[in-house]
Amino acid sequence: MAPPPLARVELDYSGGERLTMNMGPQHPSAHGVFRAILTLEGETVVGVDAVIGYLHRCHEKLAETLTYAQYPSIASKTDYVAAMTSEFAYVLAAEEIGKIEVPRRAQYLRVLTAELQRVASHLLWLGTWCMDMGGALGGGATIFLYCIRERELILDLFESLVGARLLYGFYQVGGVRYDIPSGWADSCRTTIDLIDQRIGEYEGLLEQNPFFLARAQGVGVISRALAEDVGIAGPLLRGSGVNFDLRRAAAYSSYQDFQFTVPTEIAGDCFARYRVRMAEFRESIRIVRQVLDGLPEGPISSRPGLKSVAQIRIPKGEAYARVEGPRGEVGCYLIADGSAKPYRMKWRGASFSNLAVLPHIIPGHKVADVVAIMGSVDPVFGEVDR
């Protein structure tokens, strides 16, 4: 079946005026495995064909073969930079169908880890974005190393909590799996105080640099209408002027107990998205402090002590649970049929929808801007390809 080509870029190596250049899949700033076939006229990009699927593992089929107790650990592998988010969406969907109560302490712990995960993910975003703009051997690498150093502190916290640094199995249907060890709350507080102070330094380093401003302002403008039409979410949507945050609009897991503001910018360019994420750092740190101050006592799961993997059965039903991840709306559309395994599970990956906006905004920019825009869209290819 031959599709009529519209978005497809005709590869033309005949030596005409337009140059077809391949960026990726092996490329230092492809953020994973991503292939962009660019059509260039001189330095200006006139067309982009995004080829994805290099990391496709068919999570959706895999979920039909794994039980509700087994899958959360695998769910981390979709958005491997902010692994807690994916697990969160899955267990929320299962709990919504099965009408399973989650104890308050578990809900607070979920919020705590989700916000710490957001800080860690944004640190990685900042480091890699600056590195893309500044070169692996250049000023960008300096900021990258500073951000990774801070991210390591958070990953150390996770390691003492869960046992794993990058991919966890922390969330369970009914609650969470581990409780915080003694002394963890204090080290958490010192870590976030340190990060709070260092974020201020990085903001100063970047925003007073006219080169950075020249690279980020006015580049990759996403209009509000385009943002909603394509379905992008998270900092991209808030950077384009839509004041929408799932933690406010559809508060889940006791988010309504906490005070925080939702940063929004109207410019829609890379700099606006940068400002939104920098403000989100501070808001997440605020939430973490509130959670630590008000953590209630109680059980950490309403289904503790699982003895077999098939122990959790969810009755017939369907639900779509969504979580505000660092990249946007991560959703899990789950159809349960009464057994221990789901009938159908669909991941609404935040990065998949975010990436779909690239062919609409890149044409007209220069090659160097492609890198800056991709960095500010912040895709994680585990989520795009699933």
Partner: protein, 326 residues
Amino acid sequence: MPAWIIPVIAPFIVLNVVVGLVTYVTLLERKFAARMQSRIGPYRVGPHGLLQPIADALKLMMKEDVVPTAADRGVFNLAPIVFLIPCMLIFATIPFAPGLGVADLNIGILFFMAVSSMEIVGLFMAGWGSNNKYALLSAMRAVNQIIAYDLPFIFSALVPVMLAGSLKMSDIAAAQSGLWFVFYPVIGQLAFIAFVISTLAAENRVPFDILEAESELVAGFRVEYSGMKFALIQLGEYAHVIGTSFLGALLFLGAWSGPGPEWMGPIWFLLKAMLLFLLVTWVRWSFVRIRVDQILALSWKLLLPSTLALLVATAIVVVWRYGGGA
């Protein structure tokens, strides 16, 4: 000694010293950058990493020399050499102490400028001969950028020439025995700043390194080179950086003048050149790079008119101060 010994031995010594200096300057840069990023840098090879450059050189010599099938072999193989020769040739005109230099030409500065601009031929040959779109794109950007920034480079270097009244390098150095040109009120400082910015661009250092732009063009024009040819290109690049650092130290920082006995002159010269090099490195590891159209706009719209104005101002000052002669 026969008369032909000195012109043969002196360049030989200078070349060897330059190559040795370049290899150890890479180590200096890596250590400096590492400290800026709160890490240590090369540490294991030799005490505190002092044998690291030797290890790197040996490694590069032992690597397989890969030539792409569709590459233009003659151009591809010749490019590193054509790139290297001007970068080494510039050291011929620099006097390391009064009377200690390979060829202290009457038109020393002019020779330096002309030859250092010729590296772009080798650069473009490398980009073209690689038969690789990334390399070609980067070579095209290089031509744009170096042409754009050579003019401000020359103009800002001409300011000390006018203040000293001679194109000969040792004359310029001698004219600074009273006051280093960088301390010359207003004109000296502005010329120095313009000089540093232009050299950053003419040497393809961050923030003007769109040429290599690792995160976009993946090493740019030298992406297809491996092994010894890559080593030659690296050698040429760093030699150029050192050469312009020496030039800057000579033009603005007084070359070999400094406290202490006369034999300390070359050491002071070296220290000042290293200072300039560290300044360039500091800038490299702190800034993100700007886009190619912004780089060109900066040069043609800002740097060129301002250096031109600076040159005119210097001319007025020289005429007013010294009554038309120097």
